[in-house]
């Protein structure tokens, strides 16, 4: 059941990973038990460090929206993404056109080779 899978270069064994999982979790628990005991809930230690940004009022939702995730990545690849989003134009005949185009290319390759 829990045998090895040979991939040609090496092998894959689940039991090793399960053992690794237990060792890693014990290590994490041990690290956690080494932590400081003078942490107190409800004091200043709980507060978020706002670093000059405007502090939201109490009860407001403070989550990072998904559109803001990987902002730098998106900024760096703006030209690429402009072209790619323009490619997904939403026009049905364009989609059909790409399909016909790829079919024509594959058929032309079949004639050539």
């Amino acid at each position: 059941m829990l045998g090895k899978i040979y991939t040609g270069f090496g092998f894959w064994d689940v039991s090793a990973w399960i053992a690794f999982f237990f060792i890693a979790s014990f290590y994490a628990l041990w690290l956690r038990s080494m932590g400081r005991r003078d942490y107190k809930k409800g004091t200043d230690q709980d507060e978020i460090y706002w670093s000059g940004n405007p502090v939201p009022e109490d009860g407001a939702d403070i989550t990072v929206p998904a559109s803001s995730a990987y902002w730098g990545y998106k900024k760096a690849f703006t030209p690429f993404y402009n072209a790619l989003v323009a490619f997904h134009s939403g026009i049905t005949t364009d989609y059909a056109g790409w399909f016909v185009f790829v079919s024509a290319v594959i058929c032309a390759l079949a004639v050539i080779f």
Binding site: K4, G8, W12, V85
Partner: protein, 519 residues
């Protein structure tokens, strides 16, 4: 009468009977209809499982529709099959089992998920017909029959994608898919007709035996490859995929994913078995590899910037299909060389097939979890979600399992199949492996994004009253979760019992032909 002989016909006929009987049963009220829905799906699953076991024990099964006896393939004096035939080798049975599992889980999920809609008896009929189409595509041994089943599956999916007809986007997505799929159906029909005109056969094994390597054959192969690659979502023709996956009801989406996998099955069946020697020596493997690389890379890069949950997961479908195309392309290029096949080709095929079933399972689970989120919150926009982990613990855990599996985090099953693919395609060229690794990293990044924005973080005031999804939906998700965990914990059992027979059946063209022509 021995019922186990008739399993191949029953596995298609039973859900078909269910579809035809649904209008009758829905007269008896909601309970009877739901009972039919679950019972027929469950029985189909059981039949598919028994069929798979029979194939594993006894080898390839033939079933002649309307023949006088089960073994009748050759009427005396004529050395060719004259009737429609189901030819079920290990690969077909494996696909049928995958479809049946996805169909059962989606049915359990849809019971509760669809409770706000009207016209549900039509939904149940269409759902069964979609199952029938996918099962028939994976089991049939006749080209025109394959076309008919592909049309059943397509028409049922148009109806199901547009089922929420008061939403303009649903109709739009359905129309886009319909136009593309009609063109592809026409191309398939031209190809089937040309094959018939040239060789006078429609049976796959007989065609595979008679096929020659002329230009017309290559053109027919090219038409089939482009049409089926569109159906399974290779990149420049894949724009319908996120649209229709995002707009269909979630219980249907998990089956649509599997139907696209069955189209991929048709593609490899055509390339490996039907056109065997023609395909492997020409440019076709490189078409597979180029399409696969483009699908992987562009699919995942589009997914990273999405902020609508089902659309994001839909773009991942394109990139995951790219992995399989890459693996099958490498396997196809190595097919004519026994040493290369033993060296890396067979591993690539195993990885591709294992990834196919893994993908069906975890992508189905992801779509179901997204549907559960939608059911609970009423929005699909990730910007508005947040902190749902406390309110929906089961969904969170199941989503986490599926996300870890799709991102290829060890020890989940997605990692195992991706490892097989990486190491085998590395032998052909390191660039292929590098693109696959980059894709995997970006996949992980986008799923971290979903998990962080939807489940983690402080609880939003808007979602204080959100409850966990109903029991039926959680049960449907658990079916997939159970399968994923099983594959994760017992990969070597899975590979030796499920994947390796299928891969052997894929490369064994002579066996496929011989089962029909030389019984």
């Amino acid at each position: 009468m021995n019922w186990s002989q008739h399993l191949p016909a029953l596995v298609v006929a039973f859900p078909l009977l269910g579809a035809f009987a649904t209008p009758l049963f829905s007269l008896g009220g909601k309970f009877l209809r739901n009972l039919l829905f679950v019972a027929v799906s469950l029985v189909t699953l059981i039949i598919a499982f028994l069929l798979w076991r029979n194939v594993l024990l006894h080898g390839t099964i033939l079933y002649v529709m309307g023949g006088e006896s089960i073994s009748l393939t050759l009427p005396s004096g004529f050395a060719f099959p004259v009737r429609i035939m189901f030819e079920i080798d290990a690969l077909s049975a494996f696909m049928g089992l995958t479809v049946a599992i996805a169909s059962f889980a989606g049915a359990l999920f849809s019971l509760q998920y669809m409770n706000g809609f009207s016209g549900l008896h039509r939904f149940v009929s269409l759902y069964f017909l979609l199952t029938v189409g996918a099962l028939g595509m994976s089991l049939t041994g006749d080209m025109f029959n394959f076309f008919v089943f592909i049309e059943i599956a397509s028409v049922a999916s148009f109806g199901l994608i547009a089922f929420w007809r008061d939403k303009p986007e649903a109709i739009e997505a359905s129309f886009k898919y319909m136009l593309l799929s009609q063109i592809s159906a026409m191309l398939i029909l031209i190809a089937v007709g040309s094959i018939y005109g040239k060789y006078n056969f429609l049976n796959m094994a007989a065609i595979a035996d008679a096929i020659q390597m002329t230009t017309v054959d290559k053109l027919i192969l090219a038409l089939l490859v482009s049409a089926l690659a569109m159906k399974c979502g290779a990149f420049p023709m894949s724009m319908w995929m996120p649209d229709s996956y995002a707009e269909s009801p979630s219980g249907v989406t998990c089956l649509l994913v599997t139907v696209s996998q069955v189209s991929l099955y048709g593609l490899i069946r055509v390339c490996f078995t039907l056109f065997g020697t023609v395909a492997q020596n020409s440019f076709i493997p490189w078409i597979f590899i180029v399409l696969g690389m483009m699908s992987m890379f562009f699919g995942v890069t589009m997914a990273v910037i999405q902020h609508e949950i089902k659309r994001l997961i839909g773009y991942h479908s394109i990139s995951q299909v790219g992995y399989m195309l890459l693996a099958f392309g490498v396997g196809l290029s190595a097919l004519h060389d026994p040493r290369a096949l033993a060296d890396y080709g067979f591993t690539a095929l195993k990885g591709g097939l294992f990834h196919m079933v893994n993908y069906s399972m975890y992508k189905g689970l992801l779509f179901l979890a997204a549907g559960a989120l939608y059911y609970a919150t009423g929005t699909r926009d990730l910007d508005r979600m947040g902190g749902l982990a406390r309110r929906m613990p089961y969904t969170t855990v199941l989503f986490l399992i599926a996300a870890a599996a799709i991102s290829g985090i060890p020890p989940f099953n997605g990692f195992v199949s991706k490892l097989l693919i990486y190491e085998s395609v590395f032998t052909v060229h390191p660039v292929l492996s590098a693109v696959a690794l980059v894709t995997s990293v970006l996949t992980l990044a986008s799923f971290v994004k979903i998990f962080q924005t939807a489940f983690l973080g402080p609880e939003k005031n808007q979602w204080k009253s959100v409850r966990e999804a109903p029991a039926g939906m959680v049960l449907g998700m658990m079916v997939f979760g159970f399968v994923i965990v099983g594959f994760t914990l017992f990969p070597s059992w899975t590979i030796s019992n499920l994947i390796e027979p299928a891969a052997k059946a894929l490369v064994d063209q002579a066996g496929y032909i011989g089962a029909v022509l030389h019984p």
